[in-house]
């Protein structure tokens, strides 16, 4: 009976010791694993950081690019607006002698002006009607009014509110070209547009 008990405790002891051994081994193993895995981890961090830096840099770059692009676009848009505005004011429409019928070219020009007026709904325009030097000053005053009115009516037909447009005739009083030849006359028979 006593021998059975001693053997039991011995077994437990062995078990205990071996378990200790196993523990220390396993602990050693974990430890050694840690040591082994340490150098690769550091490399990885550096690479990761570098990557991140690149990513951030890339991101920064693209943000700047985006900002610049936006600025460029804004500027382009601003320039476009200014240019459209300038074109709106600088591109006259032209008429035949003693006529106030709109040519196809004049209508194309007016289509652009109508679009611009739609894009800028607060803008208001003044249309000046002008004539060449031939004919009476009096008749040309009425003719210039007809030209301005024709341009206005076309813009209104494209959906521009009539209260955004006003007209005035200068007859033959304000030629752009003071010459007395067909090329000067052709330039002077015009409707001129001014944004208010």
């Amino acid at each position: 009976m006593k021998a059975k008990q001693t053997g039991f405790w011995a077994l437990i002891l062995v078990f205990f010791i071996s378990s200790l051994f196993i523990y220390s081994c396993s602990k050693k193993a974990v430890k050694s694993e840690g040591i082994v895995s340490k150098p690769p981890t550091a490399v990885e961090d550096e690479a990761e950081k570098a990557k991140k830096r690149v990513r951030i840099k890339e991101q920064e770059l693209s943000e700047q690019e985006l900002r610049e692009r936006a600025l460029r676009e804004e500027e382009a848009k601003r320039l476009q607006t200014a240019s459209d505005k300038a074109h709106f004011e600088s591109e006259d429409i032209y008429f035949e002698f003693d006529q106030y019928i709109l040519s196809d070219t004049a209508k194309q020009n007016l289509n652009k002006k109508a679009q611009w007026l739609k894009d800028y709904p607060s803008a208001k325009a003044l249309i000046e009607g002008h004539c060449d030097e031939r004919g009476s000053a009096e008749y040309n005053l009425a003719l210039g009014q007809k030209r301005a009115d024709a341009a206005m009516q076309y813009l209104v037909s494209l959906g521009i509110s009539a209260n955004r447009i006003s007209t005035i005739s200068f007859g033959k009083e304000k030629p752009v070209d003071s010459g007395s030849n067909e090329s000067a006359w052709a330039k002077n028979r015009r409707a001129h547009f001014i944004l208010k």
């Binding site: 003693d98 004919g135 009476s136 000053a137 009096e138 005053l141 009425a142 007209t167 005035i168 009083e173």
Partner: protein, 439 residues
């Protein structure tokens, strides 16, 4: 000398009106017809005017100025031919004794002898017209004016001569208005009938157009951009205040006085096109006179106010039409050429003058208001904006025949065309005041 002064004071009782005294010496009008101004082939009357004689102690040195101004006035009409008094070889004339035969040998048919007497600032002028063929005086007048105003007396005597010889008054006591760019801007100017004594009437510093004298001569209706848009104004003379009478949306242009001076026809925007409306002188509407979808401008009333000439493009190009004001019926007047504008009715009602395009330039025409063949009066350069003198005998117009545009006059038959404005800049759109000065 004293004797002659005494003689003057005995013979003449002086009437003073507005500082200008005059007296009619009762010479019977001759039955002889001197000048048929309606005849296109009328021969010019040769006339001689020696320097006026000084009758006083003070010599105002006006002898040549007075005689040459009278000659200039008479020649201006186109009815007279100047004869040089140096051709007179007879004995010096004594008062009451004139060597008619010797004067006839100069080639003249008529002789004017004048004398003046200066007393302080007052000038007494005596002038007599002699018919050399009949050997007698046919007109005599004495005027008393301040010496500075002697031209008024000369102009008045010239008018008397013309009335005696033609039955029509001359333009010598009238004013004209026109547009000039002398300042760089279009402003209204006025001047004597011959372009002298000019004066700027507006200072709008804008675009100012189409001055039109009122029938009474105390206002000028016109168009100006001075407040931004083409509006119609009245300029009140002599104070030169202007009042706006119509600034409706669009054009307010080409005012034309109704004969009574109480209303005007004006071209206005009406439903998108320029139409002619009859407005009160305060600008309120009386009624609409024309009806078309085209352009209608430049009205001119007949002297009786029953008809109105105007420009319309209802046929496709500007032409002149006549409106029956009672019925509002319209008939077309011009059929020659494709651009006829600026009609103006003669004061006698028998002619309408206008500018019509021939080739690339405008010429002045006249035509009977009842129609028929127009008569072309001008040939070279652009000739525009005709207007009649108050008696209808002359036409004022603008022309660029010598380069820049200036004001010219001619007889109503086109004879005797001459330039009368020599200001810097360009002169356009003349209007002849229907009233004589001081009337």
């Amino acid at each position: 000398m004293c004797k002659s002064i005494l003689k003057f004071s005995l013979i003449f009782a002086l009437t003073v009106i507005f500082g200008l005294g005059f007296l009619v010496v009762p010479y019977a009008h001759s039955d002889r017809v001197y000048l048929d101004i309606d005849s296109p082939t009328a021969k010019k009357i040769p006339i001689v005017i020696p320097d006026f004689k000084n009758q006083g102690a003070l010599d105002a040195a006006l002898g040549n100025a007075t005689a040459s101004l009278l000659m200039r006035d008479l020649v201006f009409t186109g009815y007279f031919q100047t004869i040089d008094p140096k051709g007179f070889l007879g004995r010096p004339d004594e008062p009451g004794s004139i060597d008619f035969n010797a004067w006839t040998l100069t080639g003249a048919d008529l002789l004017v002898k004048g004398s003046y007497y200066l007393s302080g600032a007052q000038l007494k002028l005596e002038m007599r017209l002699y018919d050399l063929l009949q050997g007698k005086s046919i007109l005599g007048k004495e005027y008393q004016v301040s010496s500075r105003d002697y031209p008024l007396a000369i102009h008045r005597f010239a008018d008397e001569i013309l009335f005696l010889l033609t039955g029509e008054h001359g333009p010598f006591q009238t004013r004209i208005a026109f547009i000039s760019t002398t300042t760089g801007k279009k402003e209204i100017y006025s001047a004597d009938f011959d372009g002298t004594n000019f004066q700027r009437l507006t200072n709008h510093n804008s675009i100012t157009l189409t001055p039109r004298w009122s029938p009474r001569g105390d206002e000028i209706a016109y168009t100006s951009y001075k407040d931004g848009t083409p509006a119609v104004y009245l300029l009140h003379l002599p104070g030169l205040q202007s009042s706006r009478i119509s600034s409706r949306p669009g054009v307010n242009i080409t005012p034309a006085w109704y004969p009574d001076g109480e209303s005007l026809a004006v071209a206005l925007n009406y439903q998108g096109t320029s139409q002619i409306l009859h407005l009160n002188r305060n600008g309120t509407s009386i009624r609409k006179l024309t009806q078309s979808w085209g352009i209608e401008v430049s009205p001119s009333w007949s002297p009786d106010g029953k008809q109105m000439a105007f420009v319309s493009n209802r046929s496709g190009s500007p032409q002149i039409y006549i409106l029956n004001v009672g019925t509002l019926e319209v008939r077309r007047l011009t059929f020659q050429g494709n651009y006829n504008v600026g009609p103006v009715w003669s004061p006698k009602g028998n002619l309408i003058a206008y500018a019509g395009r021939v080739g690339s330039q405008f010429q002045i025409f006249t035509v009977s208001p009842s129609g028929g063949d127009p008569q072309r009066l001008t040939a070279s350069g652009n000739n525009e904006s005709p207007d009649f003198s108050p008696d209808g005998g002359m036409i004022i117009f603008s022309s660029n025949r010598h380069g820049k545009s200036a004001v010219y006059v001619m007889n109503a038959n086109g004879a005797n065309q001459k330039r009368i404005t020599y200001l810097s800049g360009e002169q356009t759109s003349p209007s002849w005041c229907p009233r004589k000065l001081g009337e």
